[in-house]
Amino acid sequence: MDDSVLVKTVDLVKVYPMGDQKLIALNHVNLILRKGEFAGLVGPSGSGKTTLLNIIGSLDSPTQGSAEVLGEKVEALTHRKAAELRNKHIGFIFQTFNLLPVYTVYENVEFPLLLLDQSASQRKKAVLAALEWVHLADRARSKPPQLSGGESQRVAVARAMVKRPDLVLADEPTANLDAENSHHILDTMEDLNRELGTTFLFSTHDQKVIEHLRRKISLVDGRIAKDETIDAENRRKRP
């Protein structure tokens, strides 16, 4: 596989049993995602965006076909190997933030580094840097219930980025945010994408997110209907 290729799916099929019926969530999806991309899976509900994101994130496995992420075949990974892949190389951002409620902002961001067995000094340096990226250094001691939706999602971004992953998967990251916070979060992610070269893959049907994407992969009924690169001129004019 080309060194610049981060994700490659070949004839990816995902079928969910629904009683006697079968629901085809992904239908022969072929996709290549390269390093440094800022791409989005776009489509209506039930089009297979989250399923594809989950398989790429090694949270789920395909029914048929192959998904290769950072040189690892997802369908062949054991639970332990899949956890290792996520731990070392993939950051997740969720629609509902999924912060750990009893931990402070600092501890939430620190969590992935604890799993990587980094030293305390390494962790501190990385966490403070990550909080600086999202402009939340002053809220380090706050707990999630004390944060606004926008702040919570910024913490989630910091948590996803703190270990400098190769790939960040963001599932409807702006669904619970207002327009201002959405743009703020997306600007932050774009900055990180540019500065750190981290690859971002979104799952969204939010126009605000779509305006920021450099590549738009449209899914319909589990198939890629359109895969387009959006040049700078056609993207949202940034203030």
């Binding site: 789920d60 956890a83 997740f92 999924n98």
Partner: protein, 391 residues
């Protein structure tokens, strides 16, 4: 180490729920230790009192003597010779002659064991010295229980009939010179203590005894023909059996208490896994393996035992220390109902073995109970967990 840190954070972050669970568990903890200490104290107190007042450091019994069979008494006496005689004469042993008799208090007939002991003896701690002063009548010492069952009191005279070694029946009056109050029923109920020499004369023997009680701490002095040595394990076995059976009875109560606490822990774990499905999914997405998530939840549950031990120590140590020094008063008149040599106050004893043993036991049980519900996590798909579903 990381898991432990995370578990501590989660436990403390659980707030009131964590403290309530740990509080309930600490109650079980303290109650078990407190009550076990009470029984341990009872065992030690009973053994000590029995050793001091009745058993000594061990006893030599005339072969064939059976305290539960009065028919063996007729022939259960033997001359003290050699080392055994030396021990008696030097005050290191107290010979006791036992003769079956019959007393007639207030016109009634009642069987009684006549026990002859040297009034000067220092081996057993009971007021045998009151038998020193004797005039024509035979001085007799009885316990308060014997006094109550016969209606005898200090200064009373009672006729006693006995049979000497030749099989001849004889009778004489005894005068009650002291009624002793003792917690040891073994030197009280059905017994009348008289001077050894007087009983020897009555029985028609010279320098003979049924049992020889050794001084505390002396141990077996050798093997003597016609005598069988009975050590403390043998002499205290009945009493220890009674304490053991009472301890087993109490264990049912502890088990119930522990069961209630474990139910609380189990329930919390089940609820915790149900309510924290999304968190479990997040942990998996962040790279935690299922095994580690299971360990995290199990350690969290097990930490209830640690927290309970800490809470229990806060109020339990002053509580047990208070009872260990002040004693646990038994309601008036109930000490006899135990069938043991209990005084009016019980002094619990708390050994390191008891405290550590109970702590380890509670910790192991809590860990197992905490682990059981976490098996559900092993079947949980990360995608389902993230959606807040249980597969």
């Amino acid at each position: 180490m990381t898991i432990l840190k995370l578990a501590v954070r989660n436990l403390l972050g659980g707030g009131m729920k964590s403290w309530l669970n740990a509080g309930v568990l600490s109650l079980a903890f303290v109650t078990i230790i407190w009550a076990q200490g009470l029984y341990q104290g009872m065992d030690q107190q009973v053994s000590r009192t029995l050793i001091d007042a009745a058993v000594g450091g061990g006893q030599y019994w005339v072969e064939g003597y059976d305290p539960y069979d009065p028919f063996t008494l007729q022939d259960a006496h033997l001359k003290l010779t050699g080392r055994l005689d030396e021990l008696a004469k030097s005050g290191e042993a107290a010979p006791v002659l036992i003769v079956q008799g019959t007393i007639y208090p207030n016109g009634r007939v009642q069987a009684a064991l006549l026990k002859g002991i040297d009034p000067e003896q220092k081996v057993l701690m009971f007021p045998s010295s009151s038998l020193k002063n004797s005039d024509d009548e035979i001085p007799a010492l009885i316990g308060s229980r014997m006094a109550q069952s016969t209606g005898l009191k200090l200064g009373d005279t009672v006729t006693v009939r006995w049979r000497d070694v030749h099989g001849t029946f004889d009778a004489q009056d005894l005068q009650i010179v002291q009624v002793m109050t003792t917690s040891v029923q073994a030197i009280d109920v059905g017994q009348i203590w008289v001077p050894l020499k007087r009983l020897e004369e009555m029985a028609g023997v010279d320098n003979e005894a049924t049992i020889v009680v050794l001084k505390k701490g002396l141990g077996q002095a050798g093997d003597f023909p016609g005598w069988t040595f009975r050590d403390l394990d043998f002499l205290l076995q009945d009493i220890r059996q009674i304490v053991r059976s009472k301890t087993i009875g109490a264990s049912i109560f502890y088990a119930f208490l522990l069961f209630m606490a474990m139910l609380a822990v189990f329930n919390t774990q089940v609820l915790s896994i149900f309510r924290r499905r999304k968190e479990i999914g997040t942990l998996m997405a962040l790279g935690m393996t299922r095994g580690k998530v299971i360990i995290l939840f199990t350690v969290e549950g097990a930490l209830y035992a640690v927290l309970a031990a800490v809470i229990g120590a806060v109020y339990g140590i002053p509580l047990v220390a208070y009872f260990a020094t002040r004693g646990w008063p038994l309601p008036a008149g109930t000490s006899d109902s135990f069938g043991l040599a209990l005084s009016e106050k019980l002094f619990p004893t708390y050994s390191a073995r008891l405290v550590i043993g109970t702590t380890v036991l509670v910790f192991i049980i809590t860990t197992i109970v905490s682990f059981l519900p976490t098996r559900k996590i092993a079947r949980l798909k990360p995608t389902d967990a993230l959606r807040g579903r249980l597969s």
